[in-house]
Amino acid sequence: MLNRRLLYALPIRLRSLFRRRVAEAELDEEIQFHFERQMETQIAKGLSPEEARYAAMRTLGNTSLVKEQVRDAWGWNTLSNLLQDIRYAIRVLVKSPGFATTAILTLALGIAASTAIFTIIDSVVLKPLSYPESGNLVALWERVAFLGPDATGPNPRHVDVWRKGATAFRDIAIVRQSTIGLARDIDHPNVVGMVVASPNLFDVLQVSPLHGRTFLPEDGVPGRGNVVVLTYKLWETVFQSDPNVVGRSVRLSDVPFQVVGVLPQSFHFPNRNALPTVRSKQAMTDVPEPSIFLPLAVDLSESSWTEYGNWIALGRLKAGITPEQAQSELQIVQEQVLEQIPTSERDTANNAIVPVVQPMQEAIVGQSRRILWFLMAAVGGLMLIACLNLANTQLARTYRRQREASVRGALGAPKWRLVWQALLENLLIAAVAGALGVVLAGIGLTLFRRIAPVDLPRLSEVRLSTEVLLFAGGLMLISAAIVSVLPVLYSLRSDLQASLQQGNSRALGSRQRRGVQAWLIGFQVFGCTALLLITGLFSTNLLQLLNRDMGFRTERVAFAQVNLTSQSYGQATNRVGFIDAVLENVREIPGVQAAGFISAAPLEGEAWINGVQRVDKREQKGVLMNLRWASPGYFEALSHELIAGRFLEERDRATRGVLITEGGARSLWRDETAVGGKIEVNGIQYTVVGVVGDARTASLKAPPPNMVYIHYGEQPPYQLFFMVRGNQPSEALLFDLRQAIWKHAPSAPIARAKTLDSQVRESLGMERIQTVVISAFGIAALLIAMLGIYGILNYSVATRKQEIGLRKAVGATPQCIYRLTMGEVGMPIVAGLMAGLIAMVAAGRVMSGMLDGVEGLDPLIVTTVLTVFVSCAIMAGFLPAWQAASLDPVDALRSE
């Protein structure tokens, strides 16, 4: 029945709401008709037109009033009242531009910061990967006991066993990433990110090509793999989006490959930083985006069963299977793997090699998740401080406007409407601030993308989205609510009559009300202290990391990376020849003090880890050490410290003389002398000719690794790093370094040439950006708290003018007045400081897990923060207090 009524009622209601002009016109016509009919009747009764007119008017009454009552019936009153309230709120805000601007800016900054951080979280952590049904995609690892507690990239032969034996997966692909020089025709080679993948990779990811095809199973047959698939971007830049690209050829290093397909624009493969093969804490570096895909065309049955950390395995689970289920199945299948491992290399311990299955998204986002949520918490705290500050100001404004409210109440304004108006004002502020905040967040994100560290995964996917706008809208409403709570509560409780009777502003600063305000300040101080302490913690961490004794010197050192390919440099002698020739050219660069070669770039983590044994004490357990192939001159170029013996020399090429680091020497020889001792690595014996000082060459964030430096002459690597120290700024060396390499081989792909200083800087990129962001939050919190303290004291002095005047008149000294005014917020500030300190001592332990350079809060951070905060607080409080102290009692008393 109700429905039926609505059938009639709804159209008419909608019409009167939205087609107002039509409704108004019809109403006019209706009344006019009535009027004319009335007139006609009167004329028919014999009245003159003039008299009839007046008579009609009398019977109908005031037509405007009638119309107004009809409009009332239409239900417009609520709407027009709302408009009226909004206009009123705007007028009030425009009349106090100082307050409005501060309020809007404060909130806008808070909303902008929160929205920006949320956008990053939304894009990086919350959004699923851009593959179909990406929830089923998993990354597979192996936790190998002798390599340490972190899971590493699995052995490809183990993965092959899993693939055949496990039923939980639809398929598993293996992937290896590297860089390669790519050229069309006769161009100089460009270094691009290369992915070598088993041909089923795109089936696992469920990606179909834009042009041509992806890989076929036969692409994986050894000797047939000379085909490549390009990403959209590479196709766009190298082939100018040529639609007939399929069938064209590209040169990778010196080998021609045939393009068989182009991937869609939306396809994005995580780079080596986002999906590292070794998941230890290590510095990342700028790697090119993966943009060219090659099929893996190698017979795996010839590869090792015990090599780890070079491959990534990506699997697609069958529908309904959880990663946990898949992992327990793999643990059973792993038995078959363990049987295959040669007895000599078998680790007999329990859980020696454990398969690990992890959702792919988690694998990619990994470490960043924690720090991002932490930033979110920090920015939430900042937002809360901003809201409390605004709430405090609004509370003061409510007190001040209490008389106005009382008068309106006395004239019949319902209480809810007064409350609604207070709410509306804050909503209005929040709405403007929200819009401004979103714009600021957009600008901020653009800036962020420019300065962001290289190792934030999915950074290219960060953008404002509907969710983000909803978030900003929600934040806006919440902040308006927080700001409104206290003033609304106050006006609901306020007693009309009492406030009308009070009549003047003397009672405004009553003790209780000021108490509420002072404690609001206390809360802000608490949040601010906490944020400042975190700022201190992060800054100290960064400084500690930067100023750590690295064990080597970076100034005036540059290096270049060259990747040789097995196609052109498959013979060891060719590679040795390349290194020898380039080193010779590099040493001829004018002003070079030392130049050398090394097989891995500094600060890019540990690699080539192997067990090292003493030949004379075989019963002693071996020590895990990083193997590096190096040349004479490398140690001089990096100013490594020589502890014993000598650095590498040319003669070590033939005699298998090696250097080891101090820590490694100590664990093998204890207090005995290591120089002259013999070690065995991978079945080859070497003689220790020198011991070098421990150096943080793998990462500034980790303890110095154990190293064995072997002369490159016997087993030259494919990735080459030429280091050079000059007597000029290292930037100037870069050009000469490239020329020295190209002089020997013009087609050599130089992956990068950079200074060691910038390598150090980049390796701490994440720490730097964290510190910058957190410091910005801390400084903003400090500013807001200062504003808050200043605001409340200023307001308090203004309302207590007469009281202060009176006190001065009866003999209060300026000191008394200072104590009186500033003392008002003293307790809350001290309490807030203490609470913040206690909270952070507790939280500091949790946070030091995220920081490698500091253990937790140290006294220096605490005293610095306390000093900064207290001096800022005094500065903020001094101005109002000084005003109060210098008040002329006569003026003050007269000021009523």
């Binding site: 009535h34 009638v66 019936a73």
Partner: protein
């Protein structure tokens, strides 16, 4: 600008619904009919008729359409809807219950 009391307004609504039950009418005719049937006892201000009509329309009890009058003028005619009929029946029943109760009370005192 004071609104008619609930009793008066409720009465007016019922009267309008009852008159419209007989035939669709425009506002002016409705006013005349109202005066006529109540023998001028019920002095309804013509001005308060329109807000009442519009309120009833918003409730969905009556509906309106523009039609030509007998002398070819455009006028807004109101007519009763099905929900309006039900509402009228309900209010009539309510009214007779109330009035009989009141006359009973009043009769008691007379006796």
């Amino acid at each position: 600008m004071s609104k008619p009391s609930d009793l008066v307004q409720g009465t007016l609504n019922v009267l309008i619904l009852r008159i419209l039950e007989l035939e669709p009418l425009h506002g002016w005719a409705l006013a005349q009919r109202l005066k006529q049937v109540s023998n001028d006892v019920l002095q309804v201000s013509e001005g308060s008729l329109y807000p009442a009509l519009h309120r009833l329309e918003q409730e969905g009890w009556i509906t309106s359409e523009w039609r030509s009058t007998e002398n070819n003028r455009r006028a807004k005619f109101y007519s009763l809807t099905r929900p309006g009929q039900r509402q009228l029946a309900k209010e009539t029943a309510e009214w007779s219950r109330l009035s009989s109760a009141i006359s009973q009370v009043l009769g008691l005192r007379e006796a």
